[in-house]
């Protein structure tokens, strides 16, 4: 369970931090730091286990019926990443406290950062691949929020969109890859997948699987040709860049390569795809980085290059290369995070990130400059710093590959060239910023940053030095367990030392260092050349063109389908439904009439049907006189509820009746603001066309109903009928289904009702239209607002109606009634008071605020459901017992009745919310009509 809580803590913490930020900026920082430490504390009891060689797997049953569990895993690789995420996360939290200006919302940044931290922990600690993917997508989403943190900036929004589009598309590909892996191995759990490498590699679906997984990894880790989103993501605040775009999120891609290394590697396809992408990225990133003028742009391309380096090492795929790859993950995270933080300090202090404008900052901030120099030396691969060690291991691997392939010499040469560029851009980062003359018109005069802003950089730089000087005593054990769990086999023999004697790798290092310095000195003409062609050879252009094309196609399709006229769309829609129905029926050609014995027709039903027919047709003919049509519709509703009564559905009849009345009130309220007549608009031809369609659809639906009604019938209803009294404690089966058997559905339905009520309220809030001051015949409205007889009668009726509603609510479990019906009765009784006595009279006696009623109703219904958890039953299990009430007699009390009370309150609240606010829409205006004597 510890792992689960470690992952959960940051998510909960995000909410806590957002709340804590109300009390001040430091509170938010303390809270965020506390959350990260808590997550660390959850992990700490398990930390020793990976070092002892055991893999911790913790399982939490989630949906056992479909075989879905939450499974977490802690092994060496997961431990390494969890350490990076939490450790660097803590430093970033400290750093961000001083980086953000007073105007920026502290709580929002920390909340997003913690969301990201939780998602990232989920990725590295997941045992189940589907679960890993969910967290993977969450990292994309939280990174979107973080990049777009300064949402008023166009560049930030654009960068965030691009990052989301690319990594999201990659996530989709990864999902495909994971599903294929599950298909091949029969499991989504890593322990199975990692053990079935031979099965996967021998399978016919291996290549598609590999490509899909690699698409996911490459997009996330900004590998060529998907690298272009990373520089644009630099629009994020620098703490975010330090955390996400150097140390953690972009490492998720290489993490995936490492994680699935035993399952997927070891084939020529793997070597070519992974190694090729890595090599291209390594070189491209290094070259472009040298010519970037933006401080963070340089670091971004350098990050791309280093990610390419790690990918290349995994592509080489010898055990030693994997050790080097894991080692470089650690080293790069340390030095690059500190460099980003240093860049942030410079940006913070000078107000610019353009290296052409700043020089000679040494005299203003010597301490920061020293820190940056150490980190940059590490980035360049200078001996005695940690970056040197892993880069040297790459050189060794590359030179050993040279003899094994026909074009093998290309590898060491390319790697050395990339090394030269790395030295050159590292030198540029230091020399251009801190030396070389005086700064040019900086926006503000720089000085050393606040004390605590430097601490995170100091910690990281110290690590660079310690790891670089004493690798065997510091990082070796962690590296060993991480590499071992990546390989899933025994580790190769290796020796973490600075001096390995005179071997080819040493000469490559020397070449890179000397060549780098020389390249930096002669870089000007190349730089000018780059500036001239910048932006022309950019994958972003392709991306934009692709996006534009997609939009154009989408617009064309929309224009093709959407003609901009509801009438025509509805016509086509209904016509198409008719066509489909016709095709389905004519394809089957089964007989229309089934074998079920029919009920005899009685004269009364025939008569009522005939009257209904006349009235319905009259509605269609008279629909232009809207008030008349409305009165006639009232009759149709009445007949529908009589039909329910006739065919043994008393609950439905009651509901229909009540809804009919509130609908009439609703439509009358609206009709006041609408024209009283519809004009004759459509051509007679169009009307007959519509009429024909209506007749065909009516005939079709009638035939369908006939076909169903005459066929024999078997239903799950028998189960409910048999178990209603014994299982639900009520004899009204319809109500027992609603509040007990299918209570979860009802909870959803009242939620919809509540939402509809709130939506109507929201729509009405800013709506102001005035109604006519005269009626349709041009006469003034009556002066008598509330005729006294009507008012008196309705007041008398109120207690009676409320009594009826309580009665119906209480007995609903056993006889027709229940929360829905009782709620409607109460709503109608109250609406009646508004009708007859007016708003002022009613509001002076009853609070008009219906929002709490809806909320409390939903709360009661949900709590009743949750209550069954307390007793160890599934959600919404009901219980019941009998009790004797004085006067009433034997009375059954079911927990479902509390649920029904919730339903009741929601129905009352939502109905009144809708009707009253529709009625109050013009409440602020003076009383209309000249007749207000």
């Amino acid at each position: 369970m510890n792992l689960f809580f470690a992952v959960l803590t940051p998510f909960l913490g995000a909410v806590l931090v957002a709340w804590a930020s109300r009390f001040g900026r430091s509170h938010a920082a303390w809270a965020a730091g506390g959350v990260a430490l808590t997550a660390l504390a959850w992990l700490s009891p398990l930390l020793s286990q990976p070092f002892a060689g055991t893999t911790v797997v913790q399982r939490l049953e989630w949906m056992p019926s479909v075989g879905l569990d939450l499974v977490f895993r802690l092994d060496g690789l997961g431990l390494l990443f969890a350490g990076l995420i939490l450790g660097i996360g803590l430093l970033v939290i400290l750093y961000a406290r001083y980086y953000l200006s007073e105007r920026d919302s502290m709580g929002r940044l920390y909340a997003y950062l913690l969301l990201f931290m939780g998602s990232m922990l989920g990725v590295v600690l997941s045992e189940n691949l589907i679960q890993l993917l969910i967290f993977w997508e969450l990292t994309s989403l939280s990174s979107f929020l973080l990049i777009a943190y300064w949402r008023e900036r166009e560049m930030a929004r654009m960068g965030a969109r691009m990052a989301l589009a690319i990594t999201g598309a990659g996530g989709l590909a990864l999902l495909g890859g994971i599903l294929l892996l599950g298909e091949i191995t029969g499991s989504y759990e890593l322990s199975v997948i990692l053990a079935s490498g031979d099965l996967i590699r021998g399978h016919s679906l291996y290549l598609p699987t590999l490509i899909l997984v690699l698409l996911g990894a490459f997009t996330k880790s900004a590998q060529f040709p998907f690298h272009f989103w990373l520089p644009h993501a630099m629009a994020a605040p620098t703490p975010v860049s330090a955390y996400l775009h150097s140390a953690t999120m972009v490492k998720a891609g290489v993490f995936l390569l490492a994680r699935l290394f035993p399952a997927l590697s070891g084939t020529p396809e793997w070597s070519w795809l992974v190694g090729g992408a890595g090599l291209c990225t390594l070189l491209l990133g290094a070259v472009v980085a040298l010519f970037k003028h933006d401080l963070k742009g340089l670091l971004a391309y350098s990050t791309i290059s280093h990610l390419g380096l790690i990918t290349l090492l995994f592509g080489i795929a010898t055990p030693m290369a994997v050790v080097a790859g894991v080692f470089h993950i650690i080293n790069h995270a340390i030095f690059k995070a500190s460099l980003f933080m240093a860049a942030g300090i410079i940006d913070h202090e000078t107000g610019t990130r353009d290296m052409r404008r700043m020089q000679g900052l040494w005299q203003f901030m010597p301490f920061t400059a020293t820190l940056a120099m150490v980190a940059a030396a590490s980035m360049a691969g200078v001996p005695l710093f940690n970056g040197f060690l892993s880069k040297e291991m790459l050189f060794v691997e590359a030179s050993e590959m040279a003899s094994q392939q026909s074009f093998g010499w290309l590898l060491p040469v390319t790697v050395t060239v990339a090394g030269i560029f790395a030295v050159a851009y590292s030198l540029r980062f230091i020399h251009d910023v801190f030396f070389g003359g005086k700064p040019l018109e900086l926006p503000r005069t720089p000085h050393e940053p606040p004390r605590w802003m430097k601490v995170p950089v100091e910690v990281l730089v110290l690590l660079c030095l310690v790891v670089g000087l004493f690798p065997a005593q510091t990082v070796a054990p962690l590296l060993a367990v991480a590499a071992a769990s990546t390989l899933q086999t025994a580790l190769p023999e290796y020796n973490l030392a600075i001096w390995h004697g005179f071997n080819p790798a040493l000469w490559m290092s020397v070449t890179a260092l000397v060549g780098g310095v020389l390249l930096y000195l002669v870089r000007r003409p190349f730089s000018l050349l780059h500036d001239r062609f910048e932006g022309q050879l950019d994958a972003r252009r392709l991306y934009n063109a692709l996006l534009q094309g997609l939009m154009v196609i989408a617009r064309r399709i929309t224009a093709l389908l959407d003609v901009g006229s509801l009438q025509r769309m509805v016509f086509v829609f209904i016509g198409f439904a008719l066509l489909l129905g016709w095709m389905g029926w004519s394809g089957d050609r089964s007989v229309l009439t089934g074998s079920r014995p029919l009920l005899p027709v009685d004269a009364m039903s025939l008569l009522v049907t005939a009257v209904l027919t006349v009235i319905s047709v009259a509605v269609v003919i008279l629909h232009r006189q809207r008030f008349t049509a409305l009165v006639l519709v009232g009759f149709v509703g009445l007949v529908v509820s009589l039909i329910f009564v006739k065919f043994s559905a008393p609950d439905l009849a009651l509901t229909q009746l009540l809804v009919e009345v509130v609908t009439v009130v609703l439509l009358l309220l609206a009709l006041y603001f609408l024209p009283q007549h519809s004009p004759v608009e459509s051509h007679p031809l169009r009307r007959s066309r519509d009429g024909l369609l209506a007749l065909l659809v009516g005939g079709g639906v009638g035939a369908l109903a006939w076909a169903v009604l005459t066929r024999p019938h078997s239903s799950i209803g028998d189960f409910f009928l048999a178990n209603s009294v014994s299982g639900g404690g009520g004899s009204n089966v319809v109500n027992v289904i609603l509040v007990d058997f299918r209570g979860f559905d009802t909870l959803g339905e009242i939620t919809v009702l509540a939402l509809a009520g709130l939506a109507v309220y929201a729509l009405l809030e800013k709506l102001h239209i005035s109604g006519p001051s005269q009626n349709a015949d041009g006469r003034d409205w009556n002066w008598d607002l509330h005729p006294v007889i009507m008012a008196s009668f309705t007041r008398l009726l109120l207690p009676l109606a409320l009594l009826v509603s309580v009665f119906i609510l209480l007995r609903g479990h056993n006889l027709p009634g229940g929360g829905f019906i009782a709620g409607l009765v109460t709503a109608v009784a109250l609406i009646m008071q508004y009708l007859a006595n007016g708003v002022a009279w009613t509001h002076s006696r009853l609070s008009a605020n219906m929002h709490p009623v809806v909320g409390v109703g939903l709360l009661i219904a949900t709590l009743t459901g949750l209550g069954s958890f307390v007793f160890g039953y599934p959600f919404l299990t009901s219980t019941f017992g009998h009790m004797k009430w004085p006067l009433v007699g034997d009375f059954e009390l079911a927990s479902a009745m509390a649920f029904d009370l919730g339903v009741y309150l929601v129905v009352v609240g939502a109905t009144l919310l809708i009707l009253i606010h529709l009625g109050l829409m013009h409440g602020k205006e003076p009383v209309r009509g000249k007749g207000g004597h």
């Binding site: 065919f647 809804v659 027709p816």
Partner: protein, 107 residues
């Protein structure tokens, strides 16, 4: 009896479809009301017809109507009201913003 109900369902559908194809918001809302009557009756009829057998358990009853479609339709009626309310308020909003009550916002 089945034929009568099938006819009523067809009739209400036909009236509803015709009204839903009109060009003004109010008749369209009336049409939707008709269609929801028809749909509710149609769903209800999936449990077949029975007279005098309400699904309320009692010792004297020997058969019951199917309660499942009834439970389904009961909530459908209430939610139907909420949706009607939403549509009519949208119509009012359109009338306020566009100055007319044509479904396409133009006379």
């Amino acid at each position: 009896m089945e034929a009568l109900l099938a006819f009523v369902i067809g009739l209400l559908t036909a009236c509803g479809v015709y009204l839903a194809l009109r060009g003004r918001t109010f008749p369209v809302v009336l049409g939707l009301t008709f269609i929801s009557y028809a749909v509710n009756l149609f769903l209800f009829s999936m449990g077949r017809l029975s007279i005098g057998q309400p699904p309320v358990i009692s010792v004297s009853a020997n058969a019951y109507a199917d309660p499942v479609p009834q439970a389904l339709v009961l909530t459908a009626i209430v939610i139907g009201f909420a949706m009607t309310a939403f549509v009519i308020v949208l119509a009012l909003k359109a009338r306020a913003d566009l100055g007319n009550d044509h479904v396409d916002g133009q006379n």
